[in-house]
Amino acid sequence: MNLELSDEQLALRDAVRRFLTERAPVAGHVRALLDDPVGTTDGVWHGLAALGATGLLVPERHGGAGMGMVEAGVVLEELGRALDPGPWSSSAVAAPRALRAVEGGDVAKLLAGIADGSVVATVALPVTDLSVAGGDEATLEGTIAEVPDAAAAQVLLLPVAEAACAALFAVETSAPGVTVTPLRRVDGSRKQARVTLVGAPAERLGSLSAAAVEALFDDVLVARGADALGAAQAVLELAVAYAKARVQFGQPIGAFQAVQHLCVDMLETVELARGGVLHALWAADHADAATRHLAATELKAFAGHLAHVGDMAIQVFGGIGYTWEHDAQLYLKRLLSWSAFLGSPDRYLVETGRLLVRSQTR
């Protein structure tokens, strides 16, 4: 048992942090892209590719780094800390994890494109009920209410329900019959879009088993949880720094126990989430399916608490934290979009309760 990051993982963290601090700061990059449907620039995206980050999870034989979810989590935490509005979690995590789960089908070219950053891909979840006509060279019909990062993507990976469980289709966003409508959501640093397909040409990549769909769903949850952890850690640090610097009644407000306890409550929540993220990331690659699924479900079930870190931080900042100008609001919104992602925490709390009861009745 060793729960410390390795030197290589720490070096990865430092490299990504340095890059994002220099090239994608909140003031100059994130705020400029709040209303932009794509959420990244060529410079930043290719910079991430040059760091090897876009191909982190792509197997080495397809031009990637062949790393695992723990390393992906290291990058995700940095992206969350930087409030990065780009499609990394979709293209570099969800897509390669979906593609590795496909039985049959040639996905080498797509993986190579993802690895070198020339292709941005995203995955729709949960499994869609699009209607399919034709065989391997099919057409798809229907609407998907929300797909993350669809406006940035060249390729949509769409799991479609079928008798055995699901099939994974690839659709190019530039193809005829594909309409991507950006959606405005509370969190401008997260891009969502509605996708409408009318006789859209699609390539059937292969089938997905029920187990594979569940694992993919868990991976996507855990990835977004790692991102949220980074945002929560960042806003905690900002609030604590402010509590040390802001003087009222002749002393730093951080000397008041009421403020200290707010800060400790934030720290407690962040550290609980950090453990949950670490365990779920490890479990995604190394644990049995039941352990992995419980870890991912519990992490998402804790999302409401983690979002509350943003609330507590604004309470520490007081009035300045309630302004548009201050970054605290951006972190709160990032955390709220994690809380709302793929269903409310309440649903996952009930599911966790159900898993506990089931474990005692077996």
Binding site: C263, L272, G275, E298, A301, F302
Partner: protein, 381 residues
Amino acid sequence: MVDFSLPPETERFRSELRDWLATNLTGDVVAAHRRIADDEGFEVVRQWNRRMADARWVAISWPEEYGGRGATVLEQLVYVEETVRARSPLPVNVIGLNNIAPAIMRYGTEEQKRTLLPRMMRADDVWCQGMSEPEAGSDLASLRTRATADGDEFVISGQKTWTSLGHRADYCQLFVRTDPGAPKHKGISCLVVDMRLPGIEARPLPTLNGETHFAEVFFDDVRVPATALLGPLNGGWGVATTTLSHERANAARLYVEQQVRLRELVAELVAGGGGVEDPVALQRLGELAVRADLLEVLCKRSVSADLHGGDPFASASLAKTVWGELGQDVAAFAFDTFGLDADDGRWAELRLSARSLTIAGGTTQVNKNITAQRVLGLPRP
């Protein structure tokens, strides 16, 4: 490199212990755990303690020369998990084994180590620790019980309170003020006191649920030999904080206890057949399970940091806060669910006794002050 799994030799150790517990631990011993405040229940637990000690399943972290196994940190973690899951009662002298013995090993004479430690382990002697006083609770270093040197003796006067097992103890590790003129942390000494000496009176201190686990202990000109001193004169604060260099996986108790309690609760919920369908109950259960499982990782991170050269303090101090609040929420859920219905009043009793979880061993509020200042670097008020 992040790895939550345990090495095979540690898992073998787990199997060995689990098998031993399955063979030896009986239902009446498990049941006695809830009657430990009664003389009869106490004796059952003491006999169980001896049986474990004779099989070397007590104080496994101690060096072999004192009867331990020199167990690794991961073995200690597994030991806590297995004994709690099997509902094995804690050794009688749990405070002595964890907190007093390390000080005896470090500061005691060879004679003290040879005679006191094995008897402590077998619960042949019962030990208490005299720390808290009526005017020294959270602010422990302000203690006032005084020991004055008189020839080759100390004369002790004062009062201790919240002394676990004070009314049953044979020995007390007593913290006293030996230099009233020194700053408060620097005038304290530690004495090993025979509780049968004249001038000592231990009055049982029943707690809010009517049970007696603690005593108030009064010292009225009690004379002990100068050799009772453990550690340097006026160096008692250092003795009190002697790091638990042996017991390094005790944090595991925090999560396992809550997980076991939660599973007992669920088992009772489903005992009538069927499952739990009420979404409100499921959501509350889910909330508790999430926090218990996240607490598990927090505790393990503390153990891992200790093992791999990190700083275990932040995780450990947060874990204690989480444990106390979670334990109370588990108890509240149990009481809300079963109310006064349970035949033996067990859940109502838990609801009451859980009050202590945010008080004993340092209140949650003081713990948060310490975390704020030591971990976050916020200024002292």
